[in-house]
Subunit: 126 residues, 2 copies
């Protein structure tokens, strides 16, 4: 992290400032439109390229990496562990209601659903 050497560019710095100025967790298009108010002729491709570089250099993070929808015939609630080495998916159980209840005590939110995904190397691959 933070080790990749990039030349300065006004576009990249502006994109970073735009993202730092919001709590929206926006997507590329939202960032594109905000940034266009500062650099009107910036290209959408530039936004995508710089967002990727900013992730690469650890200055921002990306949420929901996997753009593909996956399906599961196991319909009882469960969590997932995905092995980055072999790609296997494992059904696991970590979160129970105690976690949720402790959350409910701190915040006054009404939880409808929760999803936990772990990533790492599985026993077979180790």
């Amino acid at each position: 992290m933070e080790s990749i050497k990039h030349r300065y560019s006004r576009q990249r710095e502006t994109i970073l400032q735009v993202l730092r100025g919001t709590l929206e967790h926006p997507n590329a298009d939202w960032i594109y439109n905000k940034t266009r108010r500062i650099i009107p002729n910036i290209s959408l491709g530039t936004v995508y390229r710089n967002l990727s570089q900013l992730v690469e250099s650890g200055r921002i993070i990306r949420i929901k990496d996997d753009a593909v929808i996956r399906y599961d015939a196991n319909i009882k609630h469960h969590d997932h562990f995905r092995c980055t080495s072999c790609g296997r998916w494992y059904d696991i159980e970590i979160l129970d209601n105690t976690v949720i209840e402790s959350f409910n005590k701190k915040h006054k939110f009404h939880i409808e659903a929760f999803n936990l995904e772990l990533e790492g190397v599985c026993e077979i691959c180790l």
Copy 2:
């Protein structure tokens, strides 16, 4: 759940059997190719439509609903709560290392990353 009335179709039943026969957590394309071995001229649109109907009727679930990548300038590890009413994203802290350690004791996996996402109605909207 299970209340929507659908006519029988060989395509839908085959898709369901294909998904029930694997632990792959496959995407639509994988399911399409497997199902084509049984119904060679099935259409990809049919696969998508039936997967959606099966989700609707609660016979399967979908993982990673949101196909859009979102970005966050808050790079310290944190979880998210998203309000289904107003769309706001909240940075939260639920998972700590005790959860991970207890997982490590049960399974011999090496965890590299984990991501928790909660969904519900926030305090403002309640």
